[in-house]
């Protein structure tokens, strides 16, 4: 097993480096010039000299190879550089926006798990019944519905319902306060995007739970447990769920990693100051350094999540553990 772990860890390095090269190349291929965008976006006149000065300021007049070496060196030293748009350190830009994204991702995962596992289990237990049908339709609807559309409808719904009941429309807060400062305000802002994103996650998890449970329920040891006369509740909780949950847990782990990236569209809808929105802005502003850092962050998180999941599998699967 240790050999497996070492091999697995070593694999991370070329993946990260490869991703870094890909990111750098992608960014340089994007047409456009951040200096022009910055100076001209007001639609007014600007001096041509200003553009040249801006290029010099941002180091864009150096050769591409030099820029890449700079990037790689900085990345290896955990120095993410400065945002080309605002001049502030990239780390600062990201860290100030990370809390809200992580909070929503966590809440979405909690919502997803809370809905998915019970519903998926019931659906598997009562296969082909009306409950099963409803759960399956519910799950597919979750995958099929565009999350941003759901978000728009949700906000509208909140406004209309609050206007109908309370006379004045109520809207979730639009500025972020940390959870410890004002938990109610924070939660009333975060719950809606969490539901929107969580619904989709829960749909995928629900289906996985259902199919994993279906497989496990056919196993002989379940039949034995039932034949022994054990209560159905114990059969499910102590025997079936434990084994069915393994693939589900790994799926949740992978989903969480992708949630961070998947918040891109949701944060637009709810006007959340998170890294998903930062990413769209960085691309729109053609801010190379910021975009590179963000993509590497997401990629690193997902590589790491894959690593953890693989290692967890290795630990839990006796065939590998005792190899």
């Amino acid at each position: 097993m240790y050999r497996y772990i070492v091999n697995r860890l070593l694999l991370v390095i070329p993946t990260l480096v490869g991703a870094a090269i890909l990111v750098f190349t992608l960014m340089r291929l994007i047409p456009g010039d951040i200096c022009v965008v910055r100076l001209g976006s007001g639609g007014g006149t600007f001096d041509e000299r200003a553009v040249t000065a801006c290029h010099a300021e941002l180091g864009m007049d150096r050769s591409v190879l030099l820029q890449f070496v700079d990037f790689l060196w900085g990345f290896l030293n955990f120095d993410l550089g400065k945002s080309m748009w605002s001049g502030k350190p990239v780390a600062y830009e990201i860290v100030t926006r990370l809390p809200i994204s992580i909070e929503i991702a966590l809440m979405a995962t909690i919502v997803a798990v809370a809905i998915a596992i019970p519903l998926g289990t019931i659906s598997a237990l009562k296969q082909n019944s009306w409950v099963d049908l409803f759960v399956r339709v519910f799950a597919i609807a979750g995958i099929a519905t565009p999350s941003f559309w759901l978000g728009i409808m949700l906000i509208l719904g909140i406004l209309s319902v609050s206007q109908a009941f309370a006379g004045a429309p109520w809207m979730p807060p639009i500025d972020y306060v940390p959870l410890w400062q004002d938990p109610i305000r924070n939660l009333s802002m975060a719950i809606w995007p969490a539901i929107t994103v969580g619904y989709r996650s829960s749909a995928i998890t629900m289906r996985m739970t259902r199919s994993a449970m279906l497989e496990v329920l056919r196993e002989d040891y379940i039949r034995t447990a039932r034949a022994k006369g054990l209560l159905e509740k114990i059969v499910i909780n102590r025997h079936a769920l434990k084994n069915a949950l393994l693939p589900v847990v790994t799926l949740i782990g992978l989903e969480f990693a992708f949630l961070i990236g998947g918040l891109v569209v949701t944060e637009q809808v709810f006007n959340l100051n998170g890294i998903g929105r930062l990413f769209v802005l960085a691309i729109a502003n053609q801010d190379y350094t910021l975009t590179q850092a963000l993509v590497m962050l997401v990629v690193a998180v997902s590589i790491f999540a894959n690593l953890v999941v693989d290692l967890a599998y290795a630990w839990l699967d006796p065939r590998i553990r005792f190899a």
């Binding site: 994007i30 047409p31 456009g32 010039d33 951040i34 022009v36 965008v37 910055r38 100076l39 001209g40 976006s41 007001g42 639609g43 007014g44 006149t45 600007f46 001096d47 041509e48 000299r49 200003a50 000065a53 801006c54 010099a56 300021e57 748009w85 605002s86 001049g87 502030k88 600062y92 830009e93 100030t96 926006r97 728009i152 906000i155 406004l159 609050s162 206007q163 004045a168 429309p169 109520w170 809207m171 807060p173 639009i174 500025d175 972020y176 637009q268 809808v269 709810f270 006007n271 100051n273 929105r277 930062l278 802005l281 729109a284 502003n285 053609q286």
Partner: protein, 530 residues
């Protein structure tokens, strides 16, 4: 000229819908919460930025030398002093302006503000040192020197007399910084805020909000009425409209489309007030003269003759932020063409059928019937995409097959600067209405002119107009210039001017709309009636 055009046009421009109000007693206190339709300004340095995000974020913290009168902000000629004591008359044949600076003004850190600070700030704008950006520097090409001979006097010496100087001086980005700081570090103001304005800086959460609090030492004794303000960054229009609707914020200062206004008025009735004004932004269509067949003036004229501006504008006004049909000069300004003068220009003929027939005839003559090309457009809804869709439809009526290529801002600039487009829809926006300078984007060789052509006659016409100081004669010369650029040569097509719509909670008082979303943003005169 002010009496002839100004009063009537100001009245026509300004449409105010206010709830019937009894005599209002001024109330002090309260915090104004408003929205900024942007993510975050690239920096807080007004001298180096061109985006309204910077102005809306930091204007309350600073003072300027002169500005448009906040009590009459829709005027294009009513300039008043902020830091000076009275508006000077130019001397020396119109080439020297001497300003006397107010005494007793203090920066927020307690130090006194003197003429040296004013001169240093302006010097930074007009003659930026190496490594300092000043995008509006070329607006002040007529300035020779700016000096502070003593603590209370600032003198501007011009190279030639022109009445384009004073409006230029009222630039809302020209904040007065502290000379001592500028001397030490000319980039300090990009990330830091320290001015002499009605509000003091409190807090900035990047991408979230910026907060200010009342300046107790403000040199206008009564002001500001508010205790403080919070500005929240909200890029998404739907969020802003809903925030205003649910009273999470009082207003925004850029402009909302007609649908938002209708929704708010419908939902909130009396609780919402709306102010509207012509906006100092116009949409322009420029054809790439380097691409055939747009080098042929007949094709360019056909393009402008096909578009029915007089009927299109009122229809578009219901869904987009455009309204007034005008020429190259801001409608209502003394230099703007009158309706009669306009109707003689190609594209403004009152009979659209005759106009389109002429367009078809020109196309046939040029051998460009049924031409198909691509309109390059910016990926911004209001009003770019609406106007673009309307144009495609209008051009189809003379048999042209036009497709739209909508790109985000970066590639849009890239394509314009690279000349890789057929026809582009762009905007010409300015802060202070200063027609003599506002029309420079139409000049070949200007950084904003993406037509890629040379035309010495056009430059000569412009120069003559710029240096003419008699208003009547200048109006006639501007008319000649306009005829040449948009009719005879059809170098550019002017489309309806934008319309600024500001709906706001009706308990907000003391703010008047202006043609520019850059001016009148220091919030000093705003008070809350609740």
């Amino acid at each position: 000229m002010r009496s002839r055009y100004g009063a009537a046009c100001i009245g026509a421009m300004l449409v105010t819908v206010l709830p019937a109000a009894a005599a209002e007693t001024l109330k002090h206190g309260g915090t104004l919460t408003y929205l900024i339709p942007a993510d975050a300004p690239p920096s807080f340095d007004g001298h180096r930025e061109t985006t309204f995000a910077t102005v809306h974020s930091a204007a309350p913290f600073y003072s300027v030398l002169i500005r448009i009168d906040p009590q009459n902000p829709s005027s294009t000629t009513d300039f008043v002093c902020d830091l000076c004591t009275e508006m000077p008359k130019p001397t020396d044949g119109g080439k020297t302006y001497t300003f006397k600076i107010r005494q007793g003004v203090k920066f927020h850190d307690g130090s006194p503000l003197t003429a040296a600070d004013v001169a240093a700030s302006w010097e930074m704008i007009i003659h930026p040192p190496q490594g300092v950006l000043s995008p509006r520097g070329s607006d002040y090409a007529m300035v020779d020197t700016v000096e502070a001979p003593d603590d209370a006097t600032v003198v501007f010496r011009l190279k030639f007399a022109t009445n384009a100087f004073l409006p230029g001086l009222a630039d809302p980005f020209a904040w007065i910084y502290k000379k001592a700081i500028l001397d030490k570090d000319p980039h300090w103001y990009e990330k830091n805020i320290m001015g002499s304005g009605p509000f003091k800086f409190v807090d900035y959460q990047i991408g979230q909000s910026i907060k200010g609090v009342k300046n107790p030492d403000y040199y206008r004794k009564e002001l500001p009425y508010l205790d403080g303000f919070t500005a929240i960054y909200a890029d998404k229009q739907a969020v802003r409209v809903e925030a205003i609707r649910s009273d999470r914020a009082e207003m925004e200062f850029r402009g909302l489309p007609p649908s938002a206004r209708d929704e708010l008025v419908h939902a909130l009735g009396d609780k919402i007030a709306v102010q509207e004004s012509d906006w100092n932004c116009g949409s322009i269509v420029t054809a790439n003269h380097k691409k055939k067949p747009f080098d042929d003036v007949r094709v360019r004229r056909a393009l402008t003759l096909a578009v029915d501006r007089w009927h299109g504008a009122p229809a578009l006004a219901k869904i987009a932020v455009v309204k007034t049909v005008g020429g190259i000069v801001f409608p209502g300004s003394p230099l703007a063409a009158t309706r009669d003068e306009l109707q003689r220009i190609a594209g403004y003929w009152p009979d659209i059928d005759k106009s389109r027939a002429e367009a078809k005839r020109l196309l046939k003559e040029a051998g460009a019937e049924g031409l198909s090309f691509e309109l390059l457009n910016r990926n911004v809804d209001q009003p770019y995409k609406y106007v673009g869709t309307w144009l495609v439809d209008e051009w189809s009526k003379i048999g042209l097959k036009v497709s739209q290529r909508v790109v985000p801002t970066g590639p849009w600039f890239e394509a314009m600067r690279g000349g890789t487009f057929d026809v582009v829809l762009q905007a010409n926006c300015h802060s202070i209405v200063n027609p003599a300078l506002d029309v420079t984007p139409y000049l070949p060789g200007s950084a904003e002119n993406y037509g890629y052509y040379t035309d010495q006659h056009e430059l000569d016409l412009y120069d003559k107009m710029l240096r003419e100081t008699d208003p009547q004669k200048q109006h006639a010369l501007m008319n000649d210039f306009e005829n040449y650029v948009t009719d005879e040569q059809a170098h550019a097509m002017v489309l309806p001017w934008w319309n600024r719509i500001i709906p706001y909670q009706s308990y907000v008082k003391g703010w008047k709309i202006s043609p520019s979303h850059y001016i009148n943003q220091d919030l000093a005169t705003i008070w809350l009636d609740k």
